[in-house]
Symmetry: C2
């Protein structure tokens, strides 16, 4: 009797698997928390170098995923997200190098105060601990998320999508080799070794083992994570972003921003989905025409539909739709108050913008719109960690706690209070 190496592995108890990974991650996190900046950077640079050196193996693994994806009927958009080539892999390695060059948030003093009794209190940034990342088809997330998690001194547990399983394993192996080269524990970046969905459930319930879960993917994934998780979640659900063209907008800026905010890339969460036009704005038709000329389907309310024959009438659901496509809904509103009311009712509180030359209107918009990112005379497509100077992002948070908007290194840290005394007792 010979051993059949192709037989499926024995069924794992998902809770036991995650408990073991979590314990190893916790031990690794203790090392990472006090690892010097140079050592973390060296590990990432070595990982980037390994990604380049192991390009052939990684691309072979990706070809396996692509073949399986084609056979199982993935859409061409999904296959495109899954596909790696020399250029894309080079960009992934470069992104890891870029994270290695970012300032280390760990150990930074947030504030310091001396109390009248002589106690000196300082708040110092420390890593969150163990970060779980659950994501879908893009294999670059394996490298991006690991790099951000490690540079901020955390241990990372990754759980990628089934369709990218071979690519993810190959990328993970390169990063783990980089950690080992730098003398940091390879357990600081672990990949869940099974696609069994029970392992995701176990990860979501791993209170005490995992400090935060970051879901990256579509609405279905994020909703499942938010619903099942007992571990805190840093998530964004939708990007229903608005651009409001005020009566006092500069028409040239208004047209340029409307087109860029909607059409530069339609599939990102910062893309504008609804444009609101002040009834007092003089050139609404030019905005509709420019969008149409750029290849965008326009769905308008009654006033907008009256402007041009090529406008489709919007129905109620359009105001709550994240198209992620070359479609825009446009409504006419009664000035700033009308815009604020519409945004309050329909925004997903991700990113909303005003276009105006009226400074008072802009201030009111920036103050009163309760979204993670509010903009004046800028394209909502700028809602991105890289564009914000954070170097990279692990996601854009639309929740209110801990971190809001683009989340990068700082968002993966917390703080501790250090109190220094000379023997003070409390009266």
């Amino acid at each position: 009797m010979t051993t059949d190496t192709l037989s499926p592995p024995p069924l794992l108890d998902a809770d036991a698997l995650i408990a073991d990974m979590g314990a190893r991650a916790r031990a690794a996190a203790k090392h990472m928390a006090t690892a010097p900046t140079a050592k973390k950077a060296a590990a990432l640079k070595a990982g980037a170098q390994q990604l380049r050196a192991q390009a052939a193996e990684i691309l072979t693994a990706n070809a396996q995923d692509m073949a399986a994806g084609e056979a199982s009927g993935l859409t061409s958009a999904m296959l495109d997200r899954l596909r790696l080539d020399e250029t894309r892999l080079g960009a992934i390695a470069d992104a890891v190098d870029a994270v290695a060059a970012l300032p280390d948030p760990v150990g930074a003093e947030i504030d310091r105060v001396e109390r009248p009794n002589g106690l000196v209190l300082s708040r110092v940034r420390v890593p969150l601990g163990v970060v779980g990342i659950i994501y879908e088809s893009r294999p670059n997330v394996t490298a991006d998320a690991a790099a951000l998690g490690l540079m901020s001194g955390n241990a990372v547990i990754l759980r990628g999508g089934s369709e990218a399983v071979h690519s993810n394993r190959a990328i993970h192996a390169a990063l783990a080799a980089g950690l080992a080269e730098a003398g940091l524990p390879a357990d600081a970046v672990q990949l869940v070794p099974t696609q069994d969905r029970a392992a995701v459930g176990a990860l979501l319930r791993a209170q005490g083992l995992v400090d935060i879960i970051v879901p990256r993917g579509g609405k279905g994934l994020v909703a499942r994570v938010q619903d099942e998780a007992r571990v805190p979640v840093l998530a964004h659900l939708d990007g229903i972003c608005h651009t409001y063209i005020d009566g006092a907008a500069d028409p040239g800026i208004a047209v340029a921003l409307a087109v860029n905010a909607k059409m530069r890339r339609t599939g990102i969460c910062g893309a504008t989905e609804t444009i609101l036009i002040d009834r007092a704005y003089p050139g609404p038709a030019a905005i509709v025409d420019a969008l149409t000329a750029a290849g965008c389907e326009v769905r308008g309310d009654r006033d907008i539909a009256a402007l041009a024959a090529h406008v489709t009438p919007a129905d109620a659901s359009d105001w709550d739709s994240e198209y992620l496509d070359a479609i825009v809904s446009i409504a006419m509103v009664d000035g700033l108050d009308g815009a604020l009311a519409h945004i309050d009712a329909h925004s997903s509180r991700h990113t909303d913008a005003i276009v105006t030359e009226d400074a008072a209107a802009a201030d009111r918009f920036l103050t009163e719109v309760d979204s993670a990112i509010v903009m004046h005379n800028a394209s909502t497509q700028f809602a991105d960690g890289g564009e914000f100077g954070l170097g990279a992002e692990i996601g854009i948070a639309t929740g209110r706690l801990h971190a809001r908007g683009p989340v990068a290194l700082e968002g993966l840290t917390t703080y501790k209070w250090q109190v220094r005394g000379t023997g003070q007792v409390r009266p």
Copy 2:
């Protein structure tokens, strides 16, 4: 047939009740978010004045609760927490006045950066929104929590314990009158009008209506809240705090800190529960004797028990016990490494302290101990928002997300990104 005003109110649908309160809180939160500092402060000062003016009604209500508590057999400790008198009520009103005098966190700029493309990004503090507070017998929490929540621009939903129901209603009425006097919506501070436990469940599941839940009370309450909540929770479970006496500790300081950290007040979460003594420290018996002389029961490991006949031998459970009483567990450890290992295994990550004259040992302790508060040569009893200069605290968070350690006004805020441009489109 006459109406019986003493008949119980009709059974409420808890979800409908909380949905209605949540919607009114959300509307009030919109007002509070942009209310000027002076107006919020005026509302709190008017509330404090109402607490003083309505002292007779409040004390009568409290007497009702006290009578019911005595009849139902509350312990004397519980009755003491419940009891109000002129002095205690005056202190509650003064505390509300003190919160009114704190700096307003809302609108403060956290940071600002100009990007190469001319976009100016700033992060500005904004309120969390709707804060739910679930607490037990102390009626002062009604005023403290409401004051902190309102001053930080939030709307507050309070759910106090059954035993304080009349006191809480009377205190709430005074605060609501203060809001009305200042022209702010009374719905900004609401008290759940039923003691039906289903209402707590509905509050814990009120995603989208309530932004954060703060539980204040014993372990049972906090554990239930953490288990059932679908809304984010800012909680602390235990305060198993350690004081480590290093071999290089000053003996005078060591004795004074050991006694103060344990015995000043034994019932607070910052009280030391375990003392670790370095085997190299010359005077362990003096520490045991000083604690015994102060009225503390000492439970020691084998080495400590050998020092004095009045030491009770500790069992394994002692190292994980939050006594909240005049009891301390003491272990002998092998230097700093031994202390770090013990704390890592047993600390609840609330507050831990080192006593030493060795600066390098202190630095290592402050860096490596992974607790919300770490102290050098200071009493763990200082773990308190007031002592930290925050003016007051809504609790001490031992979780890692959002806020850690004493939580006051800043911990009840989040931030938004304001982006100011001149028409920039993203390339």
